[in-house]
Symmetry: C2
Subunit: 657 residues, 2 copies
């Protein structure tokens, strides 16, 4: 579909202007020269494999065809990855090839990790081995028609019957029908079902149970199981998200995943050592999501910047050739800050992955000290990155004008996959409120803070306003102190509101009456953390002076843009009219400085054309050629005259004559 053509003259010229080495930047983003090299080897191995190429864009296929193609490819990639010394190396490649999620994503991202986290050694022997070999295909069935983020409210029950030493799994109401799990519709033959555990007449809250859904012989649903797909979604077409009704399905007692809590043969409930053990997987998945957003945004930026270098519109200077839209200030102001945002998210992903690894080691030593802050930070970052990241992708799409509305631009797909994460894995509003709850606990001194905690500034009155010293809008550190001051103010403001309201209301009511302020406080805090980590990352990276200059310039643009474009009351911390004017002047100069580097900056993300899968964003810039070629495959173009003409249009027109 995307055979490389001769590179267009606009992109040749753009690339010749770069002030830094694209290769160096690619290696920096990959982590090292070795990592870049290995990535390229894997890409060669998979992307040149004819079995993995699509003859027709998925956008032109029916839901059923997309699903079948996705199953075929997923299994093929799996077999191929088994030839690698470390099959996990293929995970990133698989994500890049599948475009619209895969029917087996949840198998790898949730089913297997949940087995690792919750199954005993015996249970792992029974299920984890086969799952890793894909002999059994699993999903993770938690969310119900009527219950999402508030998991304590789940209605599915697992009632222990000591007579037969079985659990009876049941969805007693319509609202308790499991709804949403990926791969549940048509693919999975097993599920880890999350249900309220009842034994000896008492409920012990939610626990995970292994339930076989379909026969291993013929894939037919097992007695008592009603299963199917929930229908098409905005995006992620290849994932067969499903529903699951369980009518008193009996499973052996030993199908309860018992690494943490247990139920004995005679029905005695044995508590887990710590509730916090369950956080691990949740934290991990959220860290992964931050990277997903960083990558999808980088893809969208690549498409939009390359297209903007090729697309010409209006006369910048009367009488001259129409200008590349990348040369308009308005277009630069839309797009350059978004490249920076993708760097910021990538830097945060890398930093959090390190913190996560350390915390996991601590955890294994029984030290849960960093866990509350890590949990709060990843919840907030998941919410903020999916919220602003998906908006950023949609901005890239809109910056491509009408052509961005075509599915073959690749941009609607990127938006749809990313925005989905605003509501899955914890709804964003609920997550912000969780962060706020944590911050308030810290303010009240109810939470012990580690020495490296990023929350300490909230306890230091001197961070209240940064305008005491002489302000310098060209100083990145000073700008960060501005973000910190705003976070300080917003969090304290929310805390004060609650305190006032509690004088006349119950705490829960005061909390509800302060939700909007709490969310603003949480967002301001998370934004401060994200940007601190971003600046730190640039400062610490060892790289050439030329590269460091461009990275810092871009970062500077984002820090200013975000102040000027976001409804955060920077005025409240003392920002004046004159400060703003200076900020505007500085950002407009920086945009002009970055203009010659724009294409190189997105080239450095180094996405293969097959991954971008965009008629607007290919490396060669042959936009119109590709659009015209790809359109020839559109479904209605199979014949000159559509069949409906003979059925409807022709008789209608004849009747008028």
């Amino acid at each position: 579909m995307a055979l490389r053509k001769k590179v267009c003259e606009e992109l040749i010229r753009e690339r010749s202007q770069a002030s830094f080495s694209v290769k160096e930047m690619t290696q920096l983003l990959d982590g090292s020269e070795q990592k870049t090299q290995r990535r390229k080897e894997l890409e060669d191995m998979f992307f040149n494999d004819l079995e993995l190429k699509d003859e027709v864009p998925w956008d032109y296929c029916s839901h059923s065809e997309v699903y079948e193609n996705a199953i075929r490819k997923s299994l093929y990639i799996f077999n191929k990855s088994m030839e690698l010394s470390d099959p996990r190396e293929a995970l990133t490649i698989a994500e890049a090839i599948m475009h619209e999620a895969s029917p087996v994503s949840v198998h790898f991202v949730m089913f297997i990790p949940a087995l690792m986290g919750h199954a005993t050694e015996d249970q792992q022997t029974m299920w984890l081995g086969p799952a890793l070999e894909m002999k059994i295909l699993g999903t993770y069935a938690q969310t119900e028609l009527g219950h999402g983020t508030f998991i304590r409210g789940l209605e599915t029950t697992a009632t222990y019957d000591p007579q037969t030493e079985e659990f009876i799994i049941n969805t007693p109401t319509l609202s308790s029908v499991k709804w949403w799990p990926g791969g549940l519709g048509k693919t999975a033959n097993h599920a880890i079902v999350v249900a309220q555990l009842y034994t000896k007449g008492k409920c012990y809250g939610i626990h995970p149970f292994m339930v076989q859904l379909r026969s291993m012989e013929d894939h037919q649903p097992i007695k008592g199981i009603t299963v199917g797909e929930i229908g098409p979604k905005m995006g992620m077409r290849a994932s067969d998200n499903g529903f699951l009704k369980l009518d008193n399905v009996r499973i052996p007692r030993t199908n309860m995943l018992m690494k943490n809590a247990q139920v004995t043969k005679d029905g005695v409930y044995v508590k887990p050592k710590s509730d916090k053990l369950n956080y691990g997987t949740m934290v991990f998945v959220r860290v992964i999501l931050i990277d997903m957003v960083a990558i999808n945004l980088a893809r969208a930026c690549t498409i939009a910047i390359r297209y903007s270098a090729v697309r010409r519109q209006s006369e910048l200077i009367p009488g001259e050739k129409e200008a590349q839209i990348l040369s308009y200030q308005a277009q630069q102001y839309k797009l350059f800050p978004l490249i920076a945002l993708s760097h910021a998210l990538k830097a945060n992903f890398m930093a959090l992955m390190d913190i996560y690894k350390n915390a996991t080691q601590d955890l294994e030593r029984g030290d849960l000290g960093m866990l509350p802050e890590l949990h709060s930070l990843t919840s907030g970052l998941k919410a903020l990155s999916t919220e602003i990241g998906s908006q950023a992708i949609e901005s890239c799409r809109l910056a491509c004008g009408g052509h961005g509305y075509l599915l073959i631009s690749g941009l609607p797909r990127l938006y749809a996959s990313t925005v989905a994460a605003c509501t899955y894995e914890g709804e964003n509003t609920v997550l912000y409120l969780q962060v706020a709850r944590y911050l308030l606990k810290c303010l009240k001194g109810q939470q012990q803070l580690a020495p490296e905690s990023m929350v300490r500034y909230l306890l230091d009155e001197s961070f209240r306003s940064p305008f005491n010293k002489s302000s310098d809008v060209t100083d990145v550190d000073w700008l960060i102190s501005l973000y910190r001051a705003v976070a300080y103010r917003q969090v304290h403001q929310a805390a004060e509101r609650i305190k006032e309201l509690m004088e006349k209301n119950r705490p829960e009511v005061a909390w509800n009456m302060s939700q909007v302020d709490l969310i603003k406080g949480a967002k301001a805090h998370i934004m401060y953390c994200v940007l601190s980590i971003y600046v730190q990352w640039i400062k610490e990276k060892q790289c050439s002076a030329a590269l460091k200059t461009v990275l810092m310039r871009l970062c500077h643009v984002y820090l200013l843009w975000n102040i000027l474009e976001n409804p955060v009351p920077f005025g409240l911390v003392g920002m004046t009219d004159d400060d703003q004017k200076q900020m505007r002047n500085v950002i407009y100069s920086r945009l002009a400085e970055l203009r010659p580097d724009a294409v190189a900056l997105v080239d450095a993300f180094d996405f293969h054309d097959l991954v971008l899968n965009s008629a607007l964003g290919c490396y060669d810039g042959q936009v119109y050629e590709r659009m015209y070629e790809w359109a020839q495959n559109a479904p209605l173009n199979k014949s000159q005259v559509h069949e409906s003409y003979y059925k409807h249009l022709q008789p209608f027109i004849k009747s008028k004559m």
Copy 2:
């Protein structure tokens, strides 16, 4: 698909709490009691017609099936509308039934109006009559692969050949291929093609020409014509947007639409009386788009508010039943301002329609006085309403959590149709810059202003800051003066920047270096206009005190919310920390006051369930029942085991055993 069920108890209770008459509000929004009655008669006539009901949701059909269904229904609705005394009454109904645009939308919205505006009387006899009867099916082919909003850059040529008295229509390059016109792909047999007119070796700019595309006998493309669809889009699936390549197609001279400019037999070009005559249709279409956004937003609010009243999540008070999510402050803050926005846009649509009608009468009398301001106002309003309206619809969708991501929620479709208008009919950024150009002309005194002009405040220094008098955040008029002051400052700020830059740069370069500030100025001005008109509308409406109270309360919420949530520097006009705190306190109280009226407010939009076409938003609130029922029709649920199991999954699993 949406048979009415027993209304759920939550909605019964909500409806019993309303402080105003829903019926009165419906009539107010429709325009009068008679209009409401007539609308309901038409709805009964069309919505109870079994021919117009879908057995399976469109979301579950292939592109080809959607197209065929749309053609069938469009023709059926047309025939049925011919039985009405005024067939145009069916237009709104048709829009409501079609959901995803229609292959004949452009025929009615652009082809016919263009004939009215550009064809001579003889030409109207030849084409307008048949078009009104749908004997010929047309489209309007202006945009090209490489050329959109900047229409002077179009490359298609119409070269006059006096020998044969024909025009030769040609698309000389790939980038000149016509691209995007709705209905062009498979439906239209005629097109008005916009091309650069050449006669006697000279180019006279773009003009409209009638070109037959397909045989009236068998619908095959005519010699020299290559035509097809451009492929699927984010939304508007029923519209077969197309491409058109013209290889030196010859048409008679009399196929040039000659009401305004002409070319005589011997090739002499006769200029039109005024360039501005062409503005009429453009202005009209933009006014219609504002209503489209108002309606789509009202639909999204209806779905989101009803769902929020039914959906329960988390415990507001520990130990009590899970709370309706509508009771959370965060949810109210997300949704209530958006109901207000839909009122604001509806009010602006009605006001602009009146101005448009007056201007058209003036125009016919040769008075073009109001045209420049009307053109600027409608350009700006089109941009602002599509931008903030589509964001608002997406907020409604996200406020429904995960379920909003399902196509059967009806929300992705509403977003996709609305956001399309950000880039069609004039790309928004370009439109904002046009508004800015007009405002700067006014500032410089180069534009005569009518007495009723809404731009006059820009010339009055006293509007610079409203904080001179005692501020009152509960006073709607004072809040409007705040918006005016911000607009004043932003527009003047941009003007000053350009002036400074012009000392060292060419005017065009200074303009480009000020684009971001210019856009901000234009947006602030348009926002001020929108909100003034909105407040005026509420004040002038004759209605009960109870209704007026709730309308004003909602308006107040929007005025405050928009200050608190938008990156407009209200601080620059003197707003203090304390003002903001007051604003927050007031808006939170208003939200609580509006809570009992929320469902009634959206009921008053009075959308038929078939129009909402949403499993989450039906009048009866039976959300989970309908989701579960509808899902049974999803494409992969046609069989228990998908065919790909036998082809791929079964052999794969067996190979592992």
